[in-house]
Amino acid sequence: MKAGLTTSVVLHAAVLGFGLLSLSAPAPLQVADVEALPVDIVPIEEMTQIQQGDKKAPMAETPAPMPTKRPDIVADAQKVGENDIDTDNPPTPADKPRPVKTAEATAPAPKPVEKPKTEDTPKPPEEPKPVPATEVAPVPAPRQEVKPEPVKEPEPKPEPVRQPEPKPAEKPQETAAAEPVKPDAVAEAIAEEQEKPAEQVAQLPDSAPRPEARPRPAPAETAKAPERKTSEKPVREASSRPQSEDTGSIENQVEALLNKEKSKGGGAKRSNQQAALGGERTTGGSKLSQSEMDALRGQVQRCWNIPAGAMDGGNLRVSVKFKLDPSGALEGSPEIISGGGSSGVERAAAEAARRAVARCSPYTLPAEKYEAWADVIVNFDPSEMF
């Protein structure tokens, strides 16, 4: 045993001595200096609480909406804009002066008659009368490229009018047919073209021309149809534009009236600051605290008679939405937005919830947070009551 003990002690002494010498302090961990990543904690309020300003403008110290030009005429306006009335709609861009003005111009009839002359003079100077041409002419100025086409097309018509006899056999028929009808027919034709049956009549002849019908001048409709056929496209193009001018068409009248209504939008609040980034309106981001919500819940609950059959009904959940005025009184009638199904019990539960809201009507809520409780949705869940 002595030998063993001595051996052991010597062994341990050797190991410990070696350990003390070699297992000295470990080399400190080499940690490279890493630049700290800046992390900002952004509260949600920065997203929900925005100031009134312009959405597209660059950011500035204080958000401000686009400056308005008109003087302030509406007191206490909320939304910034050039409008006369304060509306919540976003401002709509002003329409481009397209057919709107031509429609308005329908009232002064004589004017368009003169215009065509000046434009037509280069091509058909002989005919002062061409009715379709006059109607085509007043097309608004920006569309000049299109104009020549309809103007040219109607021309052939007037030409044959003058020389019905010398023309070849085929053409005289059409012109002859067209001639007697023309004076009053053009306007009618245009009007009729809108009606689908008329178009069908016009298309039918394409496949089967009817020579017999032509000579007869008596049925004006049949005569008109072929005329459209010969120059179907051009005429339609020509007529489609005149339509808007045509005072006789009810649609056009309505359109004219409608067009007078300028697009509205934007508010009536005026601003004279430099535009800066911001929202459409200032949102306070005020919300009810948990205790305030509980207070409201308690007030509603006090007046709530739980429907008798609701003990076991887990699906008798009712959501009631209602508006409150700043004094806390109910505004309008509460609206059931979910629940209150078809069965009698469910309907009873829904009615009970509605009654509860109405009965407790003047609610005491923090007035400064009116924005947050102006619209309230309360969920009634009978299963939570037991």
Binding site: M1, A3, G4, L5, S8, V9, H12, L20, A25
Partner: protein, 238 residues
């Protein structure tokens, strides 16, 4: 507990420094484990040497026993010096044989029983000598880690109390205390692992030696029984 030792950051972290900074409980645990380790290794060395010696003596005895030497002669040479292993079994059996036979045995069965008893006793004594102190290895092997863990827990507790006192959670403040506490577990494992391995090895070796000696005892018992059958009728006849 009011003035808790707080390992200042930047102090030496060598093993010796860690030991020196530790609290007295942890120190005590570490010192105890160190002594346990020393004792474990002492036992291991002793047993390994003892088993080797025993194996050698068994080999030599078997060689001499089966060499055809007269049993009386062998008994005379062995009884002079202190016999070990199979020698002691042989001597015990021969002594009983001689005692009974010289005084004139009455029944061969009684003589056989006495001889077996004597051999069993000798064998048990030998085994006791072989397996003695192996139990300590087993104890250290199972309890060593727990003792070390106790030191660690105490050390970490102290360390955390120190952190609470210094009101700083900097890792540099926490680390040395925990490192010194973990040293206790390390020492516990250091003592326990060799102990477990050695215990398993040595106990199986002791088992093998015991089987060898039991085998010899049975064989010698058979030889003696034959001798008794041969000699008692002669004695009666004479």
């Amino acid at each position: 507990m009011e003035n808790l030792p707080l390992a200042e950051p930047g102090v030496q972290l060598s093993v010796w420094a860690l030991f020196w900074q530790a609290g007295w409980v942890v120190k005590l645990v570490m010192i105890g484990l160190l002594f346990a380790s020393i004792w474990t290794w002492a036992i291991i060395v002793d047993k390994v040497l003892g088993f080797a010696r025993m194996r050698r003596s068994l080999d030599r005895f078997e060689q001499v026993f089966w060499s055809g030497q007269s049993l009386d002669e062998l008994y005379r040479t062995l009884s002079d010096r202190k016999p070990t292993g199979m020698g002691s079994i042989f001597v015990a059996a021969m002594r009983e044989w001689k005692k009974s036979f010289e005084k004139g045995a009455r029944s061969p069965i009684g003589l056989q029983n006495r001889i077996d008893k004597a051999m069993d006793l000798a064998l048990t004594r030998e085994m006791e000598r072989l397996e003695g102190r192996l139990g300590f290895l087993a104890t250290i092997g199972s309890a060593g880690p727990f003792i070390g863990l106790f030191g660690t827990v105490i050390g970490i507790m102290t360390s955390f109390q120190a952190i609470a006192g210094s009101k700083s959670t900097n890792l540099a403040v926490v680390a040395p205390g925990i490192a010194e506490a973990l040293l206790a577990t390390a020492i516990g494992l250091l003592a326990a692992i060799p102990a477990v391995i050695a215990y398993n090895k040595l106990s199986s070796d002791a088992g093998k030696l015991a089987v060898r000696m039991e085998g010899f005892a049975d064989e010698f018992s058979a030889i003696l029984s034959r001798q008794i059958d041969e000699k008692i009728p002669q004695q009666r006849a004479a």
